[in-house]
C-alpha cells in the first residue's frame, strides 16, 4: 500500500491514528515520506482555510495519541515544528489540539517536559507581529487561559514540573530593553502563576523576579532626569500644586512648572513608562492578594526581596512604592512589619551604608504614610532616638561626619519625621510626654554637633517648628545660628550623598500616583496645618485627612513669605547642593482652587 497523500485524506480518526503511528515508526527506519508530510502540515500557518484547520487539528489529535512513538532524536523536525507553533497564530480549535498534544508529549517522556514547558512559557507573550495587527482582548484571554490551564494539567501528571517551570520563567524574563507591552504581558502571566494553583511552588520566585526587574528599570532612570531644571522656579514648589485632578484650575501660563508637567516631561522616557505600567500591575495584584487574604504572606516575600535588592540599590527612585502600597492596604500587619524591619536594620545591622539607607527609608516612610497611626510612629521614632542616645552617651568626641555617619543619619531621620509629625504628636498628651522622655535635645546638643552636619534645610525647618509650637524640651535656635550649608553637611553622606535620600518623596510616575495619593502625606498638608490660625487638634487632623494637599491660598501670601524657604525645602529632595539654600525666592505664589475648609 502506497503512502497516502495528506491532501487527499479521507480517513477516520482511528485510521489516521494508525497511519501516524506507522509514519513515526517508519521514520526511525529511514522511510520518511509520510513523516515529512506530517511535518509540512505542522508548518502551515498563514491564511488557513477551514479544510487546512481541520487537517491540522486532526493531525495534532493523531499525534497526541501516538506520543509514545515519538523519539526525541529521530523525530527532531516534527518536534521542532510543533514546538515552534505559537497559540497566538491560530483559532481556538487548533489551540485546543495543540495544548492537548503538548500535555500528552510532556506526560509521555521526561525528555520532552523541558521543551513543552519552554514552549508554553514563550506563549506568555505573543509574537511581535501581533501588536501591529491590533487584535482584540478576547484573543489574549483565549490563549493565556489555555496556556495556564495546560501548565496546571502538566503539573498534575508530572509533579516535579513546577521545579523546571520556576527556572524557565525566571530565565525567560524579558530584558529591560524589550518594548513595554511584551514585558507587561509576561509579568501578567508571572503574577497569574503566583496567584494560581502552583502559587505555593513558583509564587515566591515570581515576586522576587518582579522586584528585581523593577529595580533594574529604576536604576536605568537617571537621577538627573528628575532633579534637573532649567527654569527659575525652585523645584520645591512642585509639591505645593497638589490638586484633586490632573488639570483642574491650572494657571495656563505656569503649566510648565507644575508637578503634573514634570511628570509628563519625565515619563516620556521608555523606562519610566515601563516601570509605571509594571508597578500599576503590581499594585493591582497586591490588591487582589489583600482581598483573598494572602497579603501578609506575599508581603513577607516582598520584604525579603526589599532587604536584598531595593535597600542595597543606590538610591532607588520608585520601586519602593510597591512596599508603600502594600503597607497602605494592611497598615496593622504589613505597615508595622515594614517599619519594624527598617528599624531593626538600622539598630542591629552591620553594614553602615545599608543602615543609613534603612533609616532614610524609615524616616521617609513614617513621615509620608498617612495610614500609620501616630502612636506607632512615636514608638518607631523612639527606637531610633534610643539608639542615637546610646551611641553618643559616653562619646565625647568632636564633629566628624565620616566617622559617625550612621549617628548623623539617625539624627537627621528624627528631625525629618518630626518636621512632618510634630504637631500631630504634640496634640496627644501621651505622645507629648513620650516625646519629652526621648530627650532629643540632649542628642542634638551633643558635642558631635549633629545640627551642623545634617542637611541645613531640615535643621532649619525643625527648629522653626520647635519655636512655632513652643516646645520647651526640644532645642532652640540661637539668634546668631544660621544653618546655611557648612562644610560638614556637604561631607555628610560621603560622595554618594547618602544624607540626601528621601525615598518616599512624591512619586513622579503618573499612573502610580493615583494609587499612592490617597494614602500619602503631602508637605502642603503639614504646612496648611500651620497656616490656619488658632488651629485646634481637630484642625490638625483635618489638614492631614484632606484627600489631596492644599495649595497656598492667596490671602495667606504675606504670612507665607516668611516661611517659604523652609516649607519649600521640605517638600521634596533638595537639588544638588551646588546651589546655596535660601537662594531665589519665588516671585509669586500661584493661585489655585480655593481651599475647602478655610
Amino acid at each position: 500500500m502506497g503512502v497516502p497523500d495528506m491532501d487527499e485524506l479521507s480517513f477516520t480518526d482511528s485510521q489516521l491514528h494508525y497511519y501516524v503511528k506507522d509514519a513515526l515508526k517508519s521514520a526511525i527506519q529511514g522511510d520518511c515520506d509520510f513523516y515529512n508530510q506530517l511535518v509540512a502540515v505542522m508548518h502551515r500557518k498563514e491564511r488557513l482555510s477551514a479544510a487546512d484547520v481541520a487537517l491540522l487539528v486532526t493531525c495534532l489529535k493523531a499525534l497526541t495519541g501516538a506520543v509514545s512513538c515519538i523519539d526525541i532524536s529521530h523525530h527532531k523536525s516534527l518536534l521542532a515544528a510543533i514546538l515552534r507553533m505559537s497559540l497566538w497564530d491560530y483559532g481556538t480549535d487548533v489551540m485546543d489540539a495543540l495544548t492537548d498534544a503538548l500535555e500528552s508529549l510532556a506526560s509521555s517522556n521526561g525528555e520532552h517536559v523541558n521543551l513543552c514547558l519552554e514552549m508554553l512559557v514563550s506563549n506568555f507573550v505573543p509574537p511581535s507581529a501581533y501588536f501591529e495587527k491590533h487584535r482584540g482582548p478576547s484573543k489574549k484571554s483565549e490563549v493565556l487561559d489555555r496556556v495556564h490551564s495546560t501548565l496546571i494539567d502538566i503539573a498534575n501528571v508530572v509533579p516535579l514540573s513546577p521545579m523546571i517551570l520556576e527556572k524557565l520563567v525566571r530565565d525567560k524574563m524579558p530584558h529591560v530593553y524589550v518594548k513595554e507591552q511584551p514585558i507587561v504581558m509576561y509579568v501578567e502571566s508571572m503574577l497569574r502563576l503566583e496567584s494560581g494553583a502552583m502559587g505555593e511552588l513558583v509564587g515566591s520566585m515570581a515576586l522576587i523576579v518582579l522586584m528585581d526587574k523593577l529595580i533594574e528599570l529604576d536604576v536605568e532612570i537617571a537621577w538627573k532626569d528628575i532633579l534637573e531644571d532649567d527654569f527659575q522656579k525652585d523645584v520645591f514648589d512642585f509639591e505645593l500644586e497638589d490638586l484633586a485632578g490632573p488639570a483642574d484650575n491650572f494657571n495656563q501660563e505656569n503649566k510648565d512648572y507644575t508637578r503634573e508637567a514634570s511628570m509628563q516631561r519625565f515619563c516620556t522616557g521608555n523606562h519610566a513608562e515601563k516601570l509605571d505600567s509594571l508597578m500599576v500591575l503590581t499594585f493591582e495584584h497586591l490588591q487582589c492578594c489583600y482581598e483573598t487574604g494572602r497579603l501578609v504572606q506575599v508581603f513577607e516575600i516582598l520584604l525579603q526581596s526589599f532587604r536584598i535588592t531595593v535597600l542595597t540599590a543606590y538610591k532607588s527612585k520608585f520601586a519602593q512604592f510597591v512596599m508603600f502600597y502594600a503597607c497602605s492596604l494592611d497598615p496593622e500587619n504589613c505597615g508595622k512589619l515594614f517599619a519594624d524591619a527598617l528599624a531593626d536594620i538600622f539598630v542591629n545591622g552591620v553594614h553602615p551604608e545599608w543602615r543609613m539607607s534603612a533609616v532614610a527609608y524609615l524616616a521617609s516612610y513614617l513621615a509620608r504614610a498617612k495610614f500609620l497611626p501616630i502612636p506607632l510612629i512615636a514608638t518607631m521614632l523612639e527606637r531610633v532616638v534610643d539608639w542615637c542616645s546610646k551611641y553618643c552617651k559616653n562619646r565625647g568626641s568632636d564633629i566628624n561626619p565620616k566617622a559617625h555617619k550612621v549617628f548623623y543619619a539617625g539624627c537627621q531621620a528624627t528631625m525629618y519625621v518630626l518636621c512632618f509629625r510634630m504637631k500631630q504628636m504634640l496634640a496627644l498628651p501621651r505622645l507629648k510626654s513620650q516625646l519629652k522622655l526621648m530627650q532629643i535635645d540632649d542628642i542634638l546638643g551633643h558635642p558631635l554637633k549633629p545640627l551642623q552636619v545634617c542637611l541645613p534645610s531640615i535643621v532649619d525647618e525643625f527648629l522653626r517648628q520647635v519655636k512655632e509650637n513652643r516646645v520647651c524640651f526640644l532645642p532652640e535656635r540661637l539668634a546668631d545660628q544660621d544653618f546655611l550649608e557648612s562644610e560638614h553637611s556637604t561631607v555628610f553622606g560621603g560622595i554618594e550623598k547618602q544624607g540626601m535620600f528621601f525615598p518616599f518623596d512624591p512619586i513622579l510616575l503618573a499612573n502610580c500616583d493615583r494609587y499612592i495619593r490617597p494614602n500619602y502625606v503631602y508637605w502642603s498638608m503639614v504646612r496648611s496645618s500651620y497656616d490656619e490660625e488658632g488651629t485646634s487638634d481637630e484642625d490638625v487632623a483635618d489638614a492631614y485627612d484632606r484627600e489631596d494637599g492644599m495649595s497656598i491660598p492667596d490671602e495667606e501670601e504675606s504670612d507665607a513669605d516668611e516661611f517659604i524657604p523652609g516649607f519649600e525645602k521640605m517638600s521634596i529632595t533638595p537639588r544638588d547642593s551646588s546651589h546655596r539654600f535660601g537662594g531665589r525666592m519665588p516671585s509669586k505664589i500661584r493661585p489655585s482652587m480655593s481651599p475647602e475648609s478655610l
Binding site: G65, A66, S104, S107, S108, N109, V157, V158, P159, L160
Partner: protein, 229 residues
C-alpha cells in the same frame, strides 16, 4: 514497596563562614538540596534525610574563601527502582493510549498502550474514563485508584518512570489485593512458579552501608552494588 532503600552515609557539609551562627539550619538547608534529585554518589533519589552531627568541631578548608566542613552521619531514604521491579502509583490521568500515574507523590509514571496487556480495555463509563479487564469485570483502573505495574525504565534526570502492565498479576491494586489468592489458585501452577522465581531473583530489599569518604571509594562501592543486581 520495591525500590525503597535506606542507607547510612558519612557526609561532610561545607558551609560558608557567614552561616556559623546558624550551622544546623544551614546544614539542613544544604541537605534539602539533595531532595528529589538522583544522586550518583548514594545511588538513588534522596527522599528523606535524618542527620546527626558528630561533633561541634569543624575543619576549616582553605579556598577562594574559607569554608568550614562539618562532619555528619545521615540516614537517607533512597528511591532506586530497577527494571522489572513492581511499583505502585496513584492514577492521575487515563487516555485511550496511556495510563499516567504518580509514584510516591513525586515521580511521574506512564504506561503506553503497547505496554498494556490486551486484557484491559479503555472505556468511558458514566463520563468517567476507566480501563476495565475483559476477563474480570470488577478489575478496573480508574483515576484516583492505585495501580501496580512493573518498571521498564527510569529517567534519572527528570525522575520519569516508564512502566508496563504486560505481566499478569499487576493492575488495579484494590481488586488485586482482594482477589489475588483466588486468581493465583485458578491459574496453572507452572506459570505461577516461573514468574514468581523471576521476581525473587531480581530484587530484594537491602540496607546498604555506604561510607562516603572519597570519590574513589564511592565509585568502587557503586560498582560493587551494580555487580550484585
Amino acid at each position: 514497596m520495591a525500590g525503597l532503600e535506606e542507607c547510612e552515609a558519612n557526609l561532610i557539609v561545607y558551609l560558608h563562614p557567614s552561616k556559623e551562627n546558624c550551622a544546623r539550619d544551614a546544614i539542613l538547608s544544604e541537605l534539602s538540596t539533595l531532595l528529589f534529585t538522583y544522586n550518583e554518589t548514594v545511588g538513588g533519589v534522596v527522599l528523606a534525610y535524618d542527620p546527626s552531627i558528630l561533633s561541634n568541631l569543624a575543619k576549616i578548608v582553605p579556598g577562594t574563601f574559607p569554608c568550614f566542613g562539618v562532619q555528619l552521619k545521615a540516614k537517607l531514604l533512597l528511591f532506586n527502582p530497577k527494571p522489572d521491579m513492581v511499583l505502585e502509583g496513584e492514577v492521575v490521568k487515563l487516555t485511550p493510549n496511556s495510563i499516567h500515574a504518580v509514584v510516591l507523590g513525586f515521580s511521574s509514571a506512564v504506561i503506553a498502550d503497547d505496554d498494556i496487556r490486551d486484557e484491559f480495555k479503555y472505556k468511558i463509563k458514566g463520563g468517567e474514563e476507566v480501563y476495565v479487564s475483559r476477563t474480570h469485570r470488577k478489575h478496573k483502573i480508574k483515576v484516583g485508584t492505585i495501580v501496580r505495574f512493573s518498571m521498564k525504565s527510569f529517567d534519572e534526570e527528570i525522575l520519569h518512570i516508564s512502566g508496563s502492565l504486560l505481566a499478569p498479576h499487576i493492575g488495579g491494586v484494590r481488586w488485586l489485593d482482594k482477589n489475588l489468592e483466588e486468581w493465583s489458585r485458578a491459574d496453572s501452577t507452572a506459570t505461577k512458579r516461573n514468574t514468581g522465581d523471576r521476581k525473587l531473583e531480581n530484587y530484594t530489599l537491602t540496607t546498604y552501608e555506604t561510607s562516603v569518604k572519597s570519590d574513589e571509594q564511592i565509585e568502587k562501592s557503586k560498582k560493587k552494588r551494580r555487580q550484585h543486581t
